[in-house]
Symmetry: C2
Subunit: 356 residues, 2 copies
């Protein structure tokens, strides 16, 4: 593959949305990155082109067999007007892990990061500067062969699209209420749970719908085998602070390895706060709650960074944490991580990649 | 919704493929059925239009979260030049079951069947007549909202596309070799296994690839919890004949209820051949094999109808059935079912819907 990225600029520019009314994932910038794959050419024709519809025959595999992978990361504008990416290497590494599971050919991670930087550079005026806002980045791969056979596609398209997004918490960081799901299953070992692929999200919709009907904003997933051990919360990883120690479910073959999860473990170790990755049951958490040892719980992910948990609904019982307030550690992690991402806090671990 | 289907005929007609060189799912007819859904309108604008690409923004949900469902059935041309559909009501019923699991609004089953008949009627010249050939029918639904949030789409498109297909067995019905998979998992109870959705097929690709590398054409799936109990074979249901009795895995919450599976159970009961749906472990099947009681095994599905199994690879051992030949019952079931589908055999259970 040639590493030359062809650039076709749009002849028109869209109006940028009002930063105060930004939602998540509804508005997209003027350009996108695209490259294609065929067995004979490998990945070819990398290009930055106007953001526009793609045209696919109804027999295209993406409409039928779910052989897709994606990533999510953000670009931030600092007070000094610098453009920061947060650990983009981790996202492209994980994209290739997802590719392995879905039988999709690897991309060149360094080239993808370079392509992203070029795209961001062209679209830099789209990165909002208001507190909590950022430019959400969605790299994804779809199968593009026109074929109804159940087999890995012989053709693919890799795309990166960009969406300016608002603060996840309109009124500052705020705890959410979580429904512990003991009927539907997100993923099991041997399935697709460790890959960032549509299947896991499609499987989650029904449980999410039920949780919302019951007044809860997200689902806590238990393991698919015994429905006992904690896996994830919604589409985030989860942490508990129990009697001074921080615990998160170990990577067991059905959990997605979050970049935020990894970053939080780094930070906690740096602060000498005990943290362990291990198998943890909902009963243990419940017992800790009853004994007065469950100090905090929070979800972690790119969208919300830290999502403090104010209440669990488990076995017909409401478990209220910290009087439904954001815990001290949750707040400190949120402030530090978002501080690093926006240049307000020292980049302790060399996580920031600046776009020039 | 108005039930009037708008018809726009194509101004050109494609050349029909040579019946002797027909593959599966590569060639499509001149027209397709389409209708759209929005929360305010429900399903609207049902139409038959030329088969052509669809244009979607890269942010369209179908590219990201796998919220898709589909069906597969066939139209047959009889010797008397009649057009037969095989149990289409079952497929549209199942499509709505899949819709439930994926949070997609129900379609009107009767209207969908009527739309299919109108489409088939327009495309009737595309139905091949050579033995074993048919017109494969693919109804499917994709989410069409432009949104990156993880939530059920607010907009959908339902489509039916048609593909003339060749005989599954070029040289007549022929046994396949099956690899018993004990690493990867297709589905578990609480997951999406009972729905016909991309997730299950995406999850299957890696195991299928490994099986092929080892010289096996399909995978036998074991349960995701204990990796002991038999679920499906490839994308088919599975039956065993053990000491005169036919056994198939019970519908346990992770197996797809196949229309062919259901039809075979009907036929066996009609013939007074003992048949039971129950939990069956691979060890039981292996023991029956060792004891000389494993008489036949076969997969069942719309594509191959009956796919006799000549060999299992299990625990590093090859289990050869029936000297690798097609069993007597497999052959009889194949002949009877394909006979009913093509009008050569009496329609015992009122399964045939004729298209005029």
């Amino acid at each position: 593959m040639t590493n030359k990225i062809n650039i076709t600029l749009s002849t028109t520019r869209k109006e940028k949305p009002n930063p105060s009314s930004l939602e998540f994932g509804r508005v997209f910038t003027d350009h996108m990155f695209v490259m294609d794959y065929s067995e004979t050419k490998g990945w070819y024709d990398p290009r930055i082109v106007p953001y526009e519809p793609i045209s696919l025959y109804p027999s295209t595999m993406v409409f039928h067999y779910g052989q897709t992978v994606f990533e999510g990361l953000k670009a931030y504008r600092t007070k000094e007007d610098k453009i920061f990416l947060f650990r983009p290497d981790k996202n492209f590494q994980r994209l290739n892990l997802s590719n392995d599971r879905l039988c999709i050919p690897h991309i060149d991670e360094e080239f993808a990061a370079e392509a992203l930087k070029q795209l961001i550079s062209i679209e830099k005026d789209w990165i909002p500067s208001a507190p909590g806002t950022s430019l959400y980045i969605r790299p994804f791969i779809i199968p593009t062969e026109y074929y109804l056979g159940v087999a890995p596609s012989k053709y693919y398209r890799f795309m990166i699209i960009l969406s300016p997004v608002g603060s996840y918490y309109k009124e500052g960081i705020k705890p959410v209420k979580i429904y512990v799901e003991d009927n539907y299953v997100r993923a099991v070992k041997g399935g697709t749970g460790t890959a960032k692929t549509g299947a896991n999200y499609a499987a989650s919709l029904k449980a999410q719908e039920n949780a919302e009907k019951n007044g809860y904003s997200q689902v806590l997933w238990l393991d698919g085998l015994e429905k006992k051990y904690i896996e994830e919360v919604g589409s985030m990883n989860i942490f508990f602070k129990i009697n001074g120690e921080v615990v998160t479910p170990a990577l067991n073959g059905s959990i997605l390895e979050g970049v935020t999860r990894n970053s939080i473990i780094h930070l906690l170790k740096h602060w000498d706060i005990p943290v362990s990755e291990k198998r943890i049951s909902m009963e243990e958490v419940y017992q800790a709650y009853k004994d007065g040892f469950l100090e905090e719980a929070f979800g972690t992910g790119t969208a919300a960074v830290i999502s403090p948990i104010g209440e669990f609904f488990y076995n017909d019982e409401k478990m209220v944490l910290n009087n439904g307030e954001t815990g001290e550690l949750s707040k400190k992690l949120y402030d530090t991580l978002t501080g690093i991402q926006t240049g307000k806090h020292e980049d302790l671990f060399n996580w920031i990649v600046e776009v020039n």
